[in-house]
């Protein structure tokens, strides 16, 4: 059953701004401008921080503030974000 099961989990977290501020941790709904979507697979955790419209609850996929990619086979502690490294661009394309 596990081999036929879903192969990732999804989580998300909102932010009021790209820089840490006093309300970064718990922004009120009216202050949310960015949403970080993350998916966890067996081998990677990928996160994309996107512009976000709270009226529609939809991200702007063309407005990417930042990306994170952790290669869990080499870096299970998620210490090294490799999202900008050329050899991982195909992985990111597949995950997005």
């Amino acid at each position: 059953a596990e081999s036929m099961w879903k192969n990732c989990t999804f989580s998300q977290y909102p932010r009021p701004d790209i820089q840490p501020k006093n309300n970064t941790d718990v922004p009120k709904l009216k202050d949310i401008r960015i949403m970080g979507y993350t998916l966890q697979t067996k081998y990677y955790r990928f996160a994309e921080w996107l512009g976000f419209d709270t009226n529609t609850s939809k991200p702007d996929w063309s407005n990417v503030y930042a990306r994170e990619l952790y290669d869990l086979e080499k870096d299970v502690e998620e210490n090294n974000n490799v999202a900008d490294e050329p050899q991982y661009q195909l992985i990111i394309k597949n995950l997005t």
Binding site: A1, E2, W5, K6, N7, C8, T9, F10, S11, Q12, Y13, P14, R15, D17, I18, Q19, P20, N22, T24, D25, V26, P27, K28, L29, I32, I34, G36, T38, Q40, T41, K42, R45, A47, W49, T54, S57, K58, Y65, A66, R67, E68, E77, E78, N79, N80, N81, V82, D84
Partner: protein
């Protein structure tokens, strides 16, 4: 008649820092439950904040559907009039009751914990929760402060108790009453129950009976192996652990904003106090489970234990939740299927919940015991899973837009993962 009860245990800010998950933290009562449960090793919350996570798993919808991202929004006003997990049981003939923090209390649950929609009776809140932000932590000079690190002499606290002690007391009382009711000849008291228990610790402040700190001598506490801020972490991904900084003892450190770092001494103290708070909650859960067994209800009660999200204990120079790191989203998930259910793992009666008192008899570690699933699961999966286990009509999958649909799931029933384990 014959339908299983449900005991739904939610622990605030509990990451899988439990003996049954390989942690050195002393949690014999939860470990005992794990031995008789399926332990999911890859379970993740949908948002690492109390109100959004709870609204999500209790409606089985993701935050973009509930539209609950903060601590103030009520999903029925924002996302839709969604049926909740306890509401579904109530509508199917169950007696449902909430104690403590099941829904996020306050405006996020309409100031009522979603009563009367979700619950048969008004939610119970321990009277001592009102001291959460009060100056009740004793300093060496005898004055009282609002500290993060707050081991206490319970007898010296207001009302001589603490919220999780009151919560366990009240739950035990209700369990005994339910047991008495089931044995009575009064037909109306024969309803099966769905009891939601929301424990308050190890959420900050770390206020717990001080004897639990003695389980963790500070010289035995280890630093996080990756305590430094990763150079490649985007600014937007960093959380500033504001809920710690606002306490007097941490504020006095004058930490640089936003990146700190936390001094090593406090890094260790925070880990020590988190561990002690987890052991304290473990003891309260042990008392409740013991009452369930003594009331002869354990063999017909589905038990689910989860953390609402994880917590960072100094890894990546971060503390608290508020992020997308796996440490913030990953949670413990135990599902105990009682012997009387056809999907049970057991051929005979095995449910035993003897209270494990860590101050009387240090328990053995139990990592690796019990059934394990390494499948990827999400907290939105819990609703359809419990429904299937209890034998209620299954919940259908939500379409891509579901704001007008009261009952559906954005998760997946875990029953296919449970059945093969049961067969094995």
């Amino acid at each position: 008649e014959g339908r299983p009860n449900v005991l739904f245990l939610v622990v605030d800010d509990l990451r899988p820092e439990l003996g049954c998950y390989g942690s050195p933290v002393i949690t014999p009562n939860i470990d005992q439950l794990a031995i008789q449960s399926i332990r999911f090793t890859n379970a993740h919350a949908q948002q690492a904040l109390c109100a959004p996570s709870r609204a999500s798993f209790l409606t089985s919808r993701r935050p973009d559907t509930t539209k609950v991202y903060d601590l103030d929004t009520y999903w029925r006003n924002a996302g839709g009039n969604f049926t909740t997990l306890p509401q579904y049981f109530k509508e199917n003939g169950y007696f449902t009751a909430s104690m403590g923090k099941v829904f996020h209390n306050g405006t996020a649950s309409n100031e009522t914990d979603d009563y009367p929609y979700s619950w048969s009776v008004p939610a119970y809140h321990p009277s001592t929760t009102k001291y959460k932000r009060k100056k009740v932590c004793l300093s060496p000079d005898g004055t009282r402060h609002e500290y993060l690190l707050c081991p206490v002499d319970v007898s010296q606290q207001p009302e001589g108790t603490l919220p999780d002690i009151q919560l366990a007391d009240n739950a035990i009382s209700m369990i005994r009453n339910m047991s008495s009711g089931l044995k009575s000849t009064n037909a109306s008291s024969h309803l099966p129950f769905f009891l939601g228990l929301g424990f308050y610790k190890p959420h900050v402040p770390f206020k717990f009976p001080k004897e639990f700190l003695s389980l963790y001598p500070i010289e035995t506490i280890k630093m996080a192996t990756n305590k430094n801020l990763p150079a490649s972490l985007p600014d937007v991904a960093f959380e500033t652990y504001s809920s710690l900084r606002e306490r007097e003892d941490i504020a006095a450190l004058n930490l640089s904003f936003p990146y700190g770092p936390m001094p090593d001494k406090y890094h260790l103290l925070i880990r020590q106090h988190y561990y002690a708070a987890v052991s304290y909650v473990d003891a309260m859960i042990g008392r409740v489970l013991n009452a369930l067994e003594q009331s002869s209800l354990a063999d017909n009660t589905i038990i689910v234990l989860i953390g609402d999200h994880g917590w960072q204990l100094g890894e990546h120079s971060e503390f608290a939740k508020f992020s997308n790191y796996a440490l913030a989203t990953r949670v413990p998930l135990l599902i105990h299927v009682p012997p009387l259910l056809k999907t049970s793992f057991y051929q005979k009666k095995l449910t035993t919940f003897h209270f494990q008192d860590v101050f009387q008899n240090m328990p053995q570690q139990t990592e690796g015991s019990g059934k394990v699933s390494n499948a990827f699961v999400e907290l939105v999966d819990i609703f359809p899973t419990i429904v299937d286990l209890a034998g209620l009509p299954s919940v259908s999958e939500c379409p891509s837009v579901s704001h007008e649909i009261q009952l559906c799931t954005e998760g997946t029933s875990l029953l296919p993962l449970i059945k093969p384990v049961s067969a094995g």
